[in-house]
Structures are given as C-alpha cells and as structure tokens.
Symmetry: C2
C-alpha cells in the first residue's frame, strides 16, 4: 500500500479546502467594506480553520512528497474514502470554532430555540453538518438557521457545491478512465452503463465537467436573482440545488420564496439529478443520444409518475397543506400541484429542499416519497440513492428470471438502450447493490432506534437511515421537513455521518476498509 501518496494527496485536498475557507473570510471583509455589519467571530473562525487546515495539509503534503505516483486500486479506494472522511473533519471546524469563540466571548451565551446550548458547541454536530454538506445530503442539526452568520451559511452551501462537483468528476471522469484498474472500479462502484462519449483523458473530461457545472451555477443564480432572491440567497440555493444537497439559508427552506423561484429550482433539480455525461454529449453536439438515453427516459417517467401519485393523493385527501413557514394552504388542486411536484422532485433527486411539511400528508404520498428516496437520481449525477439505471436493470433481470422458470432455454440478453448485452457479473453486481442498500438501510434503522431508545419512534429511525444513506436530508416524524437532527445523541450522529459517506461513495469504497485482506500487503 502506497500510504505516502495517499497522505500527499489528502494534504493537497486540505490545502485546497483551506484556501476556500480563506476566500470566505476575504468575502466577509469585502462585505464589511461594502457597509455590512462585520461578523468578526465568524471571520476569526474561518481564518483559524484555514490556518489549521494549511498546517495539517501542508505537513501531510510534505510527509508524502516524492511518493511514487503509480497507484493501484487499493490506494485509489483509500484516497476516495479518506477524502470525504477527513475532508468533513476540516469542513466542520469553522462551525465548531465559531460556536466556541462566540460562547467564550459573547456577553450572553448563544442558545438555540429549545436547546440548552448551540449544537455547534459539540464537535460531533459540526462533523455531521460538514459531512452532510460534502455528501450533498442536506441533513442539518440546526433548528435556527437564519441566526447563523452569512459566512457560515455560505460555507455550508460551498461544501455542497464542492461535494457535488467531486462526485461528478469522480464517477464520470476519473473512475472510468484511469486505466484498467479504474475502469473496473467504476463498473463496480457505478454499474450503470459506462458513460458513453466521455473523452478518454481524465483532465479533459474533468475540465469540461467543471465548465458545465460552473455554467449551470451561473445560469441558476441569475435565474433565481431575476425571480427576486438576493444574490446571496440565489447563490447559496443554487449551490445546494446543483449538488442535490438541500441546505437552505432559511428556516423555512424554499418555503420562503415565490412560485417563480420554486419553478426555477424544480427545473435545476431535475437537471442536477440527471447524468452529467449527457451534458458533455450535448456540448459535443449529439442531442440525439440524450433523448435516446434509457436511464434519462426512465428518470423523467419516474418523476412524472411519482408527482402524479403524490398530487392525486393530496387532492383526494382534501386536507389543509401545512407549509414549512408555519402557515398552511387550504386544500386546492393548484396548491397540491405546487407542493406535490416540488416535493417529489426534491425527494427523488435526493435534494431535500422543502416547501410543504409532508409529515401530515396521506400515507400513499409518503410511501411514494420513501420509495423514490431509495431509487434516487441517475448514475453520473450529483444525486444519491440506488440510481435509476440499476433499478431499470434489476427489473429486467427479474423479468428474465421469471421467464426462465417456465422456459429455461430462453436466451434473452439484457440490454440497455442500444448498447451490448449486460454481462452476468455486472447483473450480479446490480442485484448485490440493490440488496446491499436495503440491508444497510435496515441495519441503520435498527441501530438508530436502539441507540435513541424511547426518545425516537421507529418511523424517525427508519427514515433517518434512508435519508442519510440516499443523501436526501429530511425524513418523516421527528426528522420531518420542519424538524432537524440536532436532538439526536452523538452516537446516532456518528452512525448517520458514516451512513452518508457510505451512500455517497456507493457503499463499496467505505466497506472494503473493514476487510482485513484490504490492508494486507501482498
């Protein structure tokens, strides 16, 4: 195992994160210069975190300098897993330092509504919040978001944006193209179709993906500004949308904004949940491939069907529709459409923005949302979940298996769009992945319920497990649209942080670290 290279690269990652933290501090000074109130404590926390990150990262980089750059699959896996696990440790530091400095210097200690102390005074909560950001989950420990300084709010959004970009580049550009090892790695980590049309060289592809991501960011920010949001809110919500994250700058999430903003966000959530490899193809002029893409079609079909079921069950229930703002809408088809479509898209793309409090919705609507949580978005997107393409392949496999029961000699190759037939070991991988997610979901649900005991009902524990594993954010009951994860014990937050990383890195990259054989030098 080439540990030196791994440490060297991790050091680089910490240095980059520190530079961005420094950038946020600079922006706070710029805001002050523009006449805004200076959030001194927040700026201090940012600078201190950047300093810590620079020292740690620089030291690691120095320790690992000159390492052989030829790495195998083990090093790649370890680096990917540690990038998120260690990255979250640094990303959570500004939250923690802000709370600690504030607590020790302010005349009155900071408290949150209903809590004896601010959650960020506990580093585990900060780690949870940072992991939730980097994994683009959007689960928060905060009940009172608007009282955070703008610097921290921006940093929360930036963690989403970075995490989303990292995942797209990793799954579309890096893994399928780093030679034989990486190609196979990609097949296991994202056994969808090998993204067609991505260029064979990593750097080129990564650069184009970066352009697409930045382009979409600019487009949505401007669109939201035109809808009436402030530049700050527009940028933060854009970063959370494109990463399918879900952190908002408001307590009421997107419920605070007008219908135009809601529609813009729906549009960009749908884009963010689709395969970024397709946008690469559009840039290269092949629109036709995009329209013919099986997964894209299935994805849009699922979004439509899911929305229809949710809206229909809301209309049928004829009950008031509570909003995240505390108000409620009287039952009407227009309101059901507005809340139903937004929530369905937000849930299936694993974003987790909320306008309505779906805790009070009819069972069928909730069951549909939970089902869509498991399915998630497309492979090669920033969304989590099992992924549409795997579900599609699994359905085809099951159908073929059923037919083989009465007609064992039938040979019906499982195809995906126009590509060749799917090989047996890839089929097995898909089924293992589907079963594995459900198994991890069950383990997580039981673990949270056992840890929390009577403090939490089983619905809460179960939806917390799926909402983190599939990187959605909000669940039902005590972690519903207007609730948060702050009340949970630190043990639960550690488990759920791990669950977010597991789900984000498609399970295997984290689980292999538990095998003794992984660490054995051969």
């Amino acid at each position: 195992m080439n540990f030196r290279f791994v440490i060297n690269q991790l050091g680089l990652l910490l240095i980059v994160l520190s530079a961005i933290l420094g950038g946020v501090a600079l922006w706070e000074i710029y805001e002050y210069w523009q006449g805004a109130h200076l959030e001194l404590v927040s700026m201090e926390a940012m600078i201190a975190s950047a300093g810590v990150g620079l020292c740690a990262g620089g030291g690691m980089w120095y320790l690992g300098r000159g390492a052989a750059t030829k790495i195998g699959r083990r090093e790649a896996l370890l680096l990917v897993a540690l990038s998120w696990l260690v990255g979250a440790a640094l990303s959570g530091l500004p939250y923690f330092l802000w709370a600690v400095i504030h607590h020790s210097t302010a005349p009155t200690p900071i408290v949150e509504t209903g809590g004896p102390a601010h959650p960020f005074l506990n580093y585990v909560d900060c780690y949870f919040e940072a992991m939730s950001g980097l994994t683009t989950t959007g689960a928060t420990v905060l009940s009172e978001i608007e009282s955070l300084p703008r610097g921290l709010l921006l940093w929360r959004a930036i963690t989403h944006w970075l995490g989303g970009l990292g995942i797209v580049v990793l799954f579309v550009a890096v893994l399928p193209t780093v030679g034989a090892g990486g190609k196979k790695l990609f097949l296991i980590e994202a056994p969808g179709p090998t993204p067609t049309g991505v260029k064979p060289r990593i750097k080129d592809t990564a650069r184009i993906l970066w352009f697409i991501y930045v382009g979409l960011t600019i487009a949505q920010t401007v669109a939201l500004r035109l809808c009436g949001m402030s530049w700050f809110d527009a940028l933060c919500h854009t970063m959370a949308t494109l990463a399918t994250g879900g952190f908002s700058t408001r307590n009421a999430s997107v419920g605070d904004y007008n219908l135009a903003s809601v529609i813009v966000i729906i549009f960009f959530m749908v884009l963010a949940g689709a395969n970024f490899g397709l946008y690469y193809q559009i840039i290269r002029g092949s629109w036709r491939n995009v329209l013919a893409d099986t997964e894209m079609r299935a994805y849009l079909l699922l979004l439509t069907a899911g929305s229809l079921i949710v809206v229909a069950s809301l209309v049928a229930a004829q009950q008031p529709l509570p909003l995240t703002t505390g108000d409620q809408h009287e039952p009407s088809i227009a309101r059901a459409l507005e809340q139903g479509v937004f929530t369905t898209v937000s849930i299936q793309t694993t974003t987790g923005f909320c306008t309505g409090d779906f805790n009070t919705w009819p069972f069928l609507a909730q069951a549909t949302l939970i089902g869509l949580m498991f399915i998630g978005g497309c492979a090669g997107s920033t969304a989590g979940g099992i992924k549409v393409v795997r579900i599609w392949v699994a359905i085809k496999i099951i159908y073929t298996e059923l037919e083989r029961v009465f007609n064992p000699n039938v040979v019906r190759p499982t195809r995906l769009g126009g590509s060749g037939s799917i090989k047996d070991d890839l089929k097995l991988s898909v089924m293992i992945y589907c079963f594995g997610i459900i198994l991890l979901f069950a383990i997580g649900a039981v673990a949270i319920k056992v840890i929390e005991g009577d403090a939490c009902d089983f619905t809460t524990a179960a939806t917390a497990s799926v909402a983190t594993l599939c990187t959605i954010g909000p669940g039902l009951s005590q972690i519903g649209a207007i609730e948060n994860y702050g009340w949970m014990t630190s043990s639960s937050k550690v488990v759920l942080s791990l669950w977010m990383a597991l789900g984000r890195l498609e399970v295997f990259a984290i689980l292999v670290l538990l095998l003794p054989r992984f660490w054995r030098t051969e």
Copy 2:
C-alpha cells in the same frame, strides 16, 4: 398447455381432501359413540363440504381423464399454484357452511367477542383461514378459538399437516427428480443445495418422507400426551408444529400448557425447520453428512444467537412479561429464558405459536424477531422465509464482491460445504430471490396500509405482510400474539391470502401466471 391433465390432477386433489373431510365427520360420530356431545352442525358442514368436493373433484377428474401424462414445466407450475389456490377454496368450505347452518338454525346467532357476526359467515375469512392452514402460516381470523367445535379445530390442524407434507414432498422429492425440467425448476424455486442423497425415484423418496413425517407426528403426539395434554390437543399441536403452522386449539396458544410441553414443542419446531432431506440421510445411516451440513449448522447458530439476543434484551429491560393467557410474569431470568427461547424458535421456524405477548417487548427483541422472520428455516423443511441457505450464499457472494473491488483478479469459488462451487446463474437467482422477497414485503405493507387507511398503523401493515409472506402468522401491534386478522377488510384478506401462497410456493410459481407469455402456446 395440457389443461386436461392439470384439471384431472386437481380433481384428484379435491377427491383426497373430500375423503379426509369425510374422515373427520366419521371421527365426530365416533366421539359421539364414545359419549361426547354430538356437534351436529359441524358434522353436517363436514359432510356437505365433502359432498361438494367429491362432486367438483369427480367432475374435474372425469373431464380430464385420459389426458396425456407427459407434462412440461408450464403444466407443473400451474398445477402447483392451483393446488394451493383451489385447495384452499374447498378447505375453507366447512368453516363457511358450519357458520351459515349454525346462523340459520340456532336460536341465538353465533357472535364472536367484540364482533357483530362470526367471521366465518364471510367466505373470504374462511378462504383466508384455509389458505393460512394449507400454507402452514397459522394466521387466524378468529378471536375466540375455543368455542369452535372440535371437528373444525381438528380440520384446521389437518390443513397444516397436509400443507406441510405437500411442501416437503414437493421440494425434496418431486421437483428435483422429475427429469431435466423439474431439476431446473427446483434450482429456481429452491436454489439451495440440491438435497444430497435423495433417491432418484420420486415415489420411493416420497414414501420415505411420508414415513419420516408420520413417525415424527407419532413421536411428538406421544411426547405431548406424556406432558399432560389430552390426546386431541397433543395431536392438533403436533400437526401444527411439524408443519411449522401455528394454529392452536386454545385462545392463549401454547401459553395454556406447562413447561414440559413448551420444551417438547421447541424441540420439534427445531426439527420441523430443518431440511427433511437430512432425516432421509439419517435413515440411510449417514449421520456424518448431517453434522457437516453447512445450512444445518448456520440454522442452529442463528437460533442460538437469536435466542441469546432476545433473552438478553428481555432480561435487560426488567419489565413484566405478559402472557397470552392475560396474566403476566414478573421479570426474571428464568421467565425471560422460557418466553424468549420459545418465541425465537417459533418465529424463526415460521411456526408462530405464542406463549408471551411480544407486542410489549423491547425494540431490540422485536427487531431480532422480525429479522429472523425474513430468514426463516432451512430449504427442504416445512418452514417459510428466504431460507437459511440463501442467506448464507448471499453473504458469501457479497463478501466476494467486496473483495473484487480492490482485487478484481481474485477467483474465489463460492462453495457450500463440500459440494462444488456455485454457478453464476444460481448466484444471480439467490440475490434475485432475496431482493424479490423484500420487494414483495414492501408492496404488501403499502397495499395493506392503503386498503385499511386509518384503521391500521404501519407496523401492523408491515408485519402482516412479512408474517404472511414468510408464513409465520402473528406480527406486531394490531396483529400481535394475542390479536388476530379478523378485523381487516376482505380486500386485505384477499391480498394476504395471495401473499401466503406466494411465500409458500417460493414466489415464482405464482408470479409466472401473471406473464402473458406463460399462457401463449408455442
């Protein structure tokens, strides 16, 4: 499709069932002759049902006489599916006729505690009860069991016994040996190890299995009689135990009997949940194979580990342990051991007998029981569930897949005991089966909750789905150990009846009937 042969064979099945119904009527006359009170209405219902069955069965047999006896996989699958679906229709008739005759002739209409009318006045309830018997599930619509005439109680137990024998003969003797078609069929329906050592000729194997089954029945009946049960109760509980059914003759299930009876029933439940092919081997003198059997070892390990977790969590909770009789035990290690071990064995073997009301047990104990419900007993037993061998293979497959992530060139054949390595298509079948059961469980849970609406909580709906699909019987909440299924709507009972048949016949035999291609003549 050779429909005539299928109809002919179904006719034979109905004739056999009618003969047994007639036998029960004769037994009632014998009881009267011995000085017991004559249950006239019950006897009339038995004879009338036997008459209906004889006419229908005779007619079908006559219609299909002289059909070609050479059948393919389609005919075999259709026959297996219809045996249970049509068999339950006749088996439910005595319940229905008894209630109708009683209702129209008795001076006061029969009512059940808490109900406006006896559930058996609704034929759907009778079908549910009969399907529950034949599939060895043991879910009942009755809240008041002891007021049933002894003839009907005996018939309920007999349906268990027949269903259990049918499944064992089908999966151990018939399917693996009816030529190439059947062998493959077995591989799909029960992708465990091909039971080693079963003789190649169906009739011989079936006869030996029949002897084993009858031998065990006699042994357990005598053992229970020695423990103090009446011959009648001993026989009924024996039939329910060996079929891993769960129908009792008492409202309090096994809670009414002494510790010695409880221990005897535990012992025979463990035997009933193991592969009957192994008993065949014991008769042929090869003890060693039995002890070396991987599935048997895993099964005993699971029973032990499950019991330990349940007992430990009961001891730790230090709360009173309510009994099915309405009393409760004070918390003590001995009582926790008594109730915990019995319940764990009863649940994992998918029997469903109860002594304690586990609705009030701590979450960890309940979660363990639900997990064991999904796993179930061994392949080739009368138990339901995914089966221990499939779980074992699935774990091995997942472990190998994990290792392939960082070491793609590893070739580690998945073996089961001393047999050869498991082929890829069989691995795929196992994963599909595991995933399929969980999918059906989820669909069933949502369906029941949607049908019942506010009349039922989600725990009830979810455990009803798994308790029928895995042929256990009792679940949690409103269908807990001291509850029943009588309060559900007829629609739910139809769904759950189908779920019992699906689970019992290992899913595929029923699901293929839904494919249009299955019915197409080629």
